[in-house]
Subunit: 246 residues, 2 copies
């Protein structure tokens, strides 16, 4: 999403998706860039990233400001009536500060998938607006929190599935789950839980893809109708990997 010409293609495709639409974005690269310029060292404890106060300010600026508003402006230019949101706006994504156990994650926000559908989101969607959600949430007591973008996407999918038929598409930097990362034609068309275990055992699915797929399976179990993993060249998901419960 850092390459403007790719971004334009994604946005072009997004505007053509049928039905009500929500975009969820991150902004990790831009945040790392600004972090370096400001001399803010990423704070790590036992290999986990901690959201201290400086980091929270940084991601609030980058995710909710720079990235969100540029996406909104570009979507507007393509005829989508986009409206940028953090979880604090209209209280669309209430969160809880992660409890301090072995690790104090700082201002990390955890979500409750049993939360009711956001009334504000319903109003916006039913008014023809296109919500563009950044991964900043709040605790309802005035404190902003940092939440993983995949978690936001899945949470919105799950809560909205109580009132809407939801398709969730994760847009990756590769065309889906691949048997051989070197071969673009090795995309796995469909993965169910049994095949997922096999692919983990074989070492095909590793690292960051594991929480993403765990999230996906959980999302399906909690009510999302369809979930796809795909790249920016086809965000409909049809050429990517479909995640299914069986």
């Amino acid at each position: 999403m850092n390459d403007p010409s790719i971004l334009d293609q994604v946005i072009e495709q997004f505007t053509q998706v049928d039905g009500l639409r929500i975009m969820v974005h991150g902004g990790g690269n831009k945040a790392s860039e600004l972090s370096k310029r400001l001399g803010i060292q990423p704070k790590m404890v036992k290999g986990r990233r901690i959201t201290d106060n400086s980091t929270l300010e940084l991601v609030t600026m980058v995710y909710a400001g720079l990235v969100n508003k540029n996406l909104v402006a570009r979507l507007q230019a393509k005829g989508s009536n986009a409206i940028g949101l953090s979880g604090a706006d209209g209280n669309v994504i209430p969160a809880k500060k992660r409890p301090v156990k072995e690790i104090d994650y700082g201002f990390a926000g955890d979500l409750e998938d049993s939360a009711p559908v956001s009334e504000t989101l319903e109003i916006l969607l039913n008014s023809g607006l296109v919500p563009v959600c950044c991964p900043i949430t709040h605790d309802g007591q005035g404190q902003l929190l940092n939440t993983n973008a995949d978690t936001i996407a899945s949470h919105l999918g799950v809560t909205l599935s109580r009132k809407f038929d939801v398709t969730l598409v994760y847009c990756l930097d590769k065309p889906g789950v691949m048997l051989n990362p070197e071969k673009s034609d090795s995309v796995v068309g469909q993965i169910d839980p049994a095949y997922y275990q096999e692919l983990i055992t074989n070492g095909v699915i590793v690292d960051g893809m594991i929480p993403k797929l765990d999230n996906a399976f959980a999302g399906l179990r909690l009510g999302i109708s369809e979930i796809y993993l795909c790249d920016w060249q086809d965000i409909t998901g049809s050429s990517g990997t479909k995640i299914t419960l069986r």
Copy 2:
């Protein structure tokens, strides 16, 4: 607004204002602070501030991200269903890049007060949401623009006055227009255009207050019902200066 305890008092008062409400904010101090940390020199031409690309990125981060989302979270904590907006969001404030004449102001956005009322703003207000607007606009072609916060406030007041009865309150760092800046009890209760000229001639109204008051008189002429200048200790305006056409 940089002092959290003052900010809380302003927000407390704001939540108690009757009727539909919109907050418009700037964020100049925070922007200058970040500007220094990033080593971005304010670009000036003939004494006028220019919004170059780095400055636009900076103000988008600070105004639309850091300041806007913190205000929204604090308003939410006080029971106001706040929703943060730039002019790009829901296309609430379309702007035009200022034409290059003697000076190229860069990404400065000019507003058209004859623009129709924003449909999105109407939907939000009628849904009980409380818009919190930052001074970032867009040109509808994907370009974000930087617009003065006073101009935004007056523009929203004027356009909304076609459908609502609008009171506009400018919140200053002093209790209103003062005959003697050293004496807090020297606040002028009311100013009409004739008295305004007199106060300019006497040197009571100078510098940044002149464009603010010019804006205010223009706003009244274009349909705003009441305009006040006051400080944060009484944002109802009743202890401040009322601007009137006669």
